[in-house]
Structure formats: C-alpha cells, structure tokens
Symmetry: D4
Subunit: 161 residues, 8 copies
C-alpha cells in the first residue's frame, strides 16, 4: 500500500519518469511504479484506476507522449487526483502530449505539469504538496526542499564566468 | 446488427456528426449512432468496443473534441478499423482534438480525418470506401457520388459573379 | 477560514471563474474568492500566498490570461498545491495563457487545467478530489457527481435528431 | 496482384516506410511498394491510382512530407481507401505534412496516421484491420499481434531501473 | 487566349479570388477564371495544366484552402510559373492552406502569397509584375498603382481621430 | 547586367542560397549574388532595389531568416517580381521567417517558397520559369530538368531495400 | 519637436494605436502620430527614421500587422529605441505580426509588446518609463498610474457576482 | 551603482546572457549581473525590483525560459523599463518563453527581444539605445557599432564561395 502510484505508458518514458521517482525517493514517501499502456493494456489500466482507492493510493502520477490518453483515462476511472506529465516527442516537441493531457473536457480534470523532465520533477513535488496538506511532516520537507533550491540558486550567481 | 457504428463523446458533437449520418443515410447503409463519452462513460466505452466484432460491426466512426481520447481508446479495444473525427474547438480551433486523435503510438492506429464538418463527411465516405472493397455496390455508389461532386464543381465555375 | 481560495488576475476573468465557484457552491465546500493581480497587486499577491497556510487554506485555484504569471508566482510563495486555469484570449486563443502556466521550471509545480470554462470547472473538481483524499464525504460527492454526469451523457444519446 | 500497395513520394521516405513494409512482411500479406512522386511523376501517379481497382489492390498506403499531396491526390483518383503517413520534416517537425494530408476537403477522405515511424507502422496495421473485416485470419493475426504487444508492455514494467 | 489564368478549388473561394480578378480588371489584362477542383476534377486539372502553355497562358494563379493541393499539382504539370493563394479556413485560420501550398519539395515551386484576401490581391499584382518584366506598359501601370497606394497611405495620416 | 539577382541577409545564409546558385549555374543563366542586410545595410538595400530595373535585372531572389524583412522591403522598392526564401531557424524552425516573408499586406507581393534548402532550389526554378515565359530556350530547359527529375524518381523505386 | 513619435503602417491600425495615444494624452507628454507604411511609403519611412534624432524625437513607437516590417526597418535607420506593437490579424491572430517584429537578428533590437490593444497601451507606458529614467516627473506619474491601477484592481474584487 | 542590471532566472541561462554582457563590456557601460529566480527566490526578486530605482539602476535586463515570469514580475515592481529575453527551450524552441514574456496585460510592459542569443545581444543594444537618448556618447558608440556591422556585412558578400 503506497501513497503515490507512478505509471507510464511505455518503458521508453522511464528516463523522464525516473526524475519523478528520484524526488519521491529523496522525500522517503512510499510509491509504486509501473508501465501501464492505455492502448496496449487497456483492461489493466481500468483495473488499476478503479482499484486505486481501495489499494490505499492517494495520488496518481501518469506520464505519456503523443496522443497521450493515459492520464485522462485513469482520471475517468478514479475519484483520486491524477497528475499528468506530457512526454517530450521527436516530431512536435511534446505539444501533442501536452494538448492530449491538459485539454480535458469539463468533468474529469488532469493536473498537468510541464513537458518532459521538468514536468516529471514537478509531478512528484505536486503530489507531495497535495499530501502535505494534511501531513505536516511532508509540508515541512517541501519547505526545506525549497529553501535548498533557493540557497543553491542564490549562490549560483557568484559563478557567472 | 449494423455495418457502421457512429459514436460521439458528447451530444454537443451532434451538429458535426450529423454530417456523417446524412451521408450514410444517403447511401442506405445500416448504422447505429450513440453518445459514448470516454471520460464519463468509460465502462460503456470499453464494452462497446470489446463487443463490436461480435455485434457484427465492421467500421467504427468516433468524434470527440479537446483532449479527444474516444477514438484512440475504442481502437485499443477492438481489431476493427476506427475512424476519428477531430471536433472543432473554441480555444484552439481543433488543433488539440487533431493531435489527440492522430498522434497515436505505434500499435493502435486511428484513421483520422479533417477537423470538423469536412472531416465528419469524410469519415462516412471513408467507411463506405472501406466497405466498398468487398461490396461492389457500395463502391459503385462512391463512384457515382464522386461523379455528382465532379459535375457540380465543374458547373459551378459558370456562376462566378 | 476556507478550505479553498479562488483568485483571478482580473475581474474580466470572472465569467470563467464563476464556473469554478458554481461547482464549489454545489459541493458546499467553504471557499473565498478574490481578484489578485500579479502585475498590479504584486505585494498583495505575495502576502496572500505567504499567509495561505496560516489562514487554513488547503488548495489555491488561480486563473489568469496572456502572460499569466499569477498561478506560478503564487505557487512560488506557498507549499500548498496551486491549480492554474489558463484564460482564453482573443489573439491566440489561450495558447499564451496555457504555456505561461504549465511550462513551470523544475521545483515549483502548477497543476494546470484546460483553457477557459472547461478548465475552470475542472479546477474546482480537482481541488475537491484533492480534499477528497482525506475527506471521504467529499470523495463520495465526487463519485455521485460523476454518476450524474454519466447518467446524463448516457441518456443524451437518445436525443440525436 | 497485391492486396496492399505502398507508395512514397521520394526514396528519402524509405526509412519511414520500411516500418510499414516490415509489418506487412510479418503478417504475410501481399503488397507492392514503389516510389511515386506526386510532383515529379504526376502522370504515373494518376495512372497508378486510376488502375488500382482493376489491379486488384484493396488498400493504398501513401507517405509524403512537406506539402504532401501524394495521399490526397491518389485518393481523388480511386474509390479505394487511402491511408496517409505524414513524413517528419526538418523545419517544422512534420506539422506541414500532417496538415497537408489530414485537412482534406469534404468528399475525398485520407485516413491519416501519426507523423513519422509510428504512423508508418500504424498505416500497415490499419490496412490489415481493414482487410481483417472480411478476412478473419488477418483479424486473428491482429488480435495476436496486440496480445504480444500487451505482454511485452506488461512485462517491461519489471525493468524500470 | 488569355495571359493569366485564375483558378480556384471551389466556388466558395470566389469571395477571396474576386479580389484577384478586380485588380486584373483594373489593369485591363486578359484573363480567364474557373473552378477546377484538384480533388473533384483531377482529370480536368491535369488537362488544364498540361495545355496551359499551348493555350497561350503565361501565368497561372490558383487558390485553395485546407489540404490545398491545387496550386502544387498544377505546378507539377506545367513549366509556367504558378502563384498560390492560401485560403483562410475556419478551424486553423489558413495555416493548413499555407503549409500545404508553400512547403513544396525541391523541384516544383509555387509562388505563395499571404493567406486570404491580401494574398488574393497580391497574386494579381505578382502576376502583373511578372508580365511587366517584358511588357513595359504593365510595368508602368504597376508603378502608377503603387504611386496611388503611396499617396492614399500618406494622406490617410491626416485623418487619425 | 544579369537577368537574376540573388541576395541574402547574411553570409550565414550562404549554405542555403548556394542551392539557388547551383541551379542557376546549371541552367547557364546570368546572375549576381550578394549579401545585402536589410537591417545593417538599409541604404544599400534601397539603392539596390530602386536601381534594379535600370540595371537590367528581371527577377530578384532574396533569402533571410527570423524577422525576415529583406524580401518584402526590396519588393516595396521595385516593380520587379521578388522571390523570398525563408531561412530555417534554430528556435522556431523557420516559421518566423516564413510568416515574415509570406504574410505581406495587399499591394506588395513576395513570391514565397518553402523554408530552407528546398525553397532555395525552388526560388531558382521559379525565377527560371518566369524568364521562360518569354525565353523558350529556358522553358525547354525547365522541361528537360523536370524530365530528368521524373526519370530519377521513377528509377529510384527499384532500390528500396 | 515631440518626445515620442507614434507611427502605424496603415490607417486600419488606428483603433489599436489610439490606445497608445490616449495614454500619452493622459500623461501630457508631447507626441506626434502618423501613418507611415513600410511597403507603400518606404522613402518616407527611411527619411522619418533617419531624421528622428535631429527632430528631437526620443522614443519611436511603431505598430504594424502581418509581415510587419515597419518597427524593424525604422530601428535599422535610427539609434533611438523603437517599440513595436504587433497588430492582431484575422487569419493568424497576430502570431505573424509578433514573429515579424520580435525575432530581429542580432544588431538591431525592437522592444516588442503584446499583440493588439494591450500591447498598444503598454507601448505608451514603456516609452514613458524610458523617458522617466531621467525625467522624474514622468516617473512619478508612472508610479501614480500604477497606484490607480492597483486600487482599481483591488476594489474590483468586491464585485464578483 | 550601475546603470544596467542584468538578471537571469537560472545559471543555465548564462551562455545566453553572456552575449548581453559581452556587448555591455564592449561599450564600457557599468552593469551588474546576477541570478535571481522568480520561482526559487521570489522575495529577493521583489526586493531587487523594488530597490532598483534607489540603487541608481536605469534599465533592467531579465532572461528566463519556459513559463518565464521573471521579466514581467520585475516589471510589476519597478517603474524602470525592463527588457525581457526569452530563453530558447528544448521542447518548444522558446515559443513558451516568448509568449510568457511578451503577452503582458495592459499596464505593465516588458520590452521583449528575440528568442535566445540574438535576443540577448539585442537586449544589451536596446538598453544602450535607451541610455543613449540622453547620453550622446553612448549614442555615438551605437552609431559606430552599427557602422562596423554595416561594413562587415557589406564586405562579407565578397566571400560567397
């Protein structure tokens, strides 16, 4: 039973999604990760989504590229919040992934983050911020994580040569 | 038992999809039409797609707008050919619908037509051309339909004032 | 002390954001709404964001258009989850709003929904789904809301003429 | 006499179209392949399209890039279904190819697949799904092909490290 | 026998193409106009293009919208210069028409003008400038036409209230 | 005194424009080539354009990238036909160059070709086709050039392995 | 002798540019306004730009649409700062104007503002902010103007019903 | 106390912003440079902007990529002119950065330059042109700089081989 479930539409998304998992590891939050293809494993996708509440999952993170249906179709099958990461694509940069994920019709939201690795990191942080609403320990970790980012950014200005 | 099944993600797609049905009516081919929302009726969508072969359907036409997952998710659940019509949208003109439908990953094709009403008409004609491969009566009707379009276009040049 | 805080960059966003508030009203969840302009009220924006945790806010929803900085700048000043609604725009349809909100750099996520009114409705539902992780009453309401959407969509197929 | 005819606008499209042919080989379906340039071989293109029915062709697959007129112009000259593959392009990624192929006016459809190699594979599969309507052996092959994709996707989740 | 031949893919292009013809009328140059649909009248299109030199035509102007193949396919069938006018479109503004016309592969150029009515006017002027290379009377008319535009633009500055 | 004048906005455009010159060399038509920057050499640009008729130039070809003003500003200063080649660009692929060149307001056309090297070749061929209206030797060369392209394309189909 | 010179490429830009002038009027800064078309009045444009320093102009504001060359070509002919306003356009919303103005090559900057009326207002304010660097009265006016905007935005939140 | 302050959202912007600083060095104008992240250092960003006038800064240059809020948020907190450089981005080329910076709402302008290194150079030159309004030495330097660019461009035409 993990708080966060991270899924991707293809193993080829793993270099992106690894950024998500690295942050979740760093925060020490329990999570599961798996490949669930909307188009090649539709039944598993529905079972996964429809069982997520009973499995104790709190937040789902889903990454897919191109005609990226995974986040939205999972969202259609669970009342849990679903975070969508648009994969970067060769032909169109990821604009196809972004629009396929973010332009959900009224009724079924997907919390969309940026295209590619920045979005993958932010999907983890967003999930943690959501858990942090009621888990003050995680919220404190977010605050510290941001303080570290702040310090690192601030210091980096000294090395512009 | 109909040869063609026409579905749309929302009743608001009907003014577009009516163009499809009008052509099917004109050709006298049996078809069914229904609203099946990928996001609001996911179980019905899967049941529909997974039963389509057994129901005697030969070609499926699906129209949806925005993050348009309906054609691709149906395609993932049936070995029948699926034709996708990208709905025109207010914000982005239908570029979101188009990319959500056409940019399917390798393995699960959707035969995508143009955005909006032109695409809706062409979805009907494409389905008929597919049936026409083995049904020479339909193929003859296509040839006549084109001849009529040809004659009308040719004659229209006389009225440019 | 409200669970959800809804802000918009300009009173001209209200017709969009009203869709958000109508759903929150329907669910009976406490919320506040206000105009906070990132560019015209930057100090208030920072004060708002930096005080949000202490004010008992759990989720922030922010709508803005064009070079839409409001959601991202609020997100930079609070560890709470921030949901961003890209406003539809006259010149570019809202592509500018969408990219300004969704393409956040690694570190500070904004949970982005669709452009315009669909996104406004979904921002409310996403906030409710987030609260529903720990508030099972809200989660049940989401499930009922979806059931009603489902029934309405299903029934609508009978009226395609 | 082949069931499927695969044409491309230029020999430079071959690395893309080879993906189509590899799948057709795998399925053991008869096909022909050729270079037919819409702009450099217009008469051959018309002869090819106008003779396709008589030659026993059932489905035509055409790949072209940039101002990609080949699929649409073939479609205008045959009642057979034509599948269009938009080639990826250096300057615009293939958005030019995609719009030139998919945005056909009402009357003459082109069944458009994704840009580049994914679309090339899917063009083959779509042609096979079309033949599979009446050829249950091919339909069974499609079902097995999908099962293999399913199994491979499912198994791949074990190797995310 | 006319110097300029103006064709359009559909009678619905006439409000745009009328701008072309009005300028040609104003200059008193002989021209013909007709509807020739690339997709509905392909044989007539080829005959038109292949006979253009023998018919004494010097410049061809072609307008089409969406997957606009008319200018490029005419160009492929004649050594005469072909000017393409991208029609404005409802869904994508004419970006589809523009890319379908301008992105011609090496070998067969189309002289592309702006989307819509501005492009229609400029197609006429470009044709006249081409004729003006060797017809100094037309070149003088162009110079006068520009002088009039100049004077009108200059004077218009007085009425900014 | 050359028939064709080829200019580019920067020496960095030369690898593109060399494709233009290679074709003009092949056809043996007299031409001049030069760097004339609209933004760094505005006076030379105007002098060049305003003297072109007197210098015996018949067609001008201009290549520029980004906010590509060179073709349009030359066109504004000469009654000769001006062909514009949009340079490919790193950030936006050349969409910026294309729109800056093709979207000319009514009154001053630029005959725009494709982005990058395909457009550079086609600019040469378009200029030759224009000269070929009255110079039947050049028109014959165009016809032979096309025949060679045709033969090469046709033959290339034998080597698809 | 005015501090600011406001020019537009066509009288049709006046409804946009009036927004610029209204703000300059409100601030009581001296300015001139005129129509100067880059393409129809190129010599006047150059004379205007080359004389601007001697005429005592400090900042130039230029608005144009489509292939908008006016701001960049003025900038190429004066060492004064030039502010460019991209006009909104029917076909492409103003994306063409924006890219034609902002994507200037290294060497000749144009200070670009937003598409349409928002950009027109901001062009005035940017010019005033530039003058305000050394004219503290204007800088104070800017501060007051912003305070008024602030108060109005803040108060507007009370009227969300 | 420096005339110009150059800030960037991340040290990763330095290769771009170095182009700005190299030109400022070449002109011998005093400037400061620093990393100030809108999202990771929001308080420092506001302090920086709100103190800029008192610190004697005259012009601010800010570079950021993606959802680039830095230039606009600085502009909202100072009456000084702010120049924004859109960083080039991997997924979308910098279209996201450009729209996030240039599409500012009425009231708070950002003087936007081109995407990437060309824009970085032009940001320096624009700042210098602004200072040159009242500092005739700088204005003379601009004129000389342009003369050198002119000479180099003109001469480069000799080396096209």
């Amino acid at each position: 039973m993990s708080d966060i479930s991270v899924v991707m539409g293809s193993k080829s998304d793993w270099p992106t999604v690894k950024e998500t998992c690295d942050i979740l590891d760093e925060f020490g939050v329990s999570y599961e990760k798996n490949v669930i293809s909307a188009h090649r494993m539709p039944n598993e996708m529905f079972a996964f989504a429809q069982n997520a509440v009973d499995n104790g999952t709190k937040v789902i993170i889903a990454c897919a590229g191109g005609a990226a249906h995974l986040p939205g179709m999972i969202a259609a099958n669970t009342p849990l919040p679903v975070i969508g990461i648009p994969g970067q694509t060769k032909a169109l940069g990821g604009m196809d992934s972004l629009l396929s994920i973010v332009q959900m019709p009224a009724g079924i939201p997907v919390a969309t983050t940026a295209i590619g690795k920045a979005g993958a990191k932010n999907a983890a942080l967003l999930a943690l911020q959501i858990l942090g609403i009621t888990d003050k320990h995680i919220q404190q970790q977010i605050i510290k994580y941001r303080q570290a980012m702040h310090d690192q950014a601030k210091e980096s200005g000294q090395y512009l040569e």
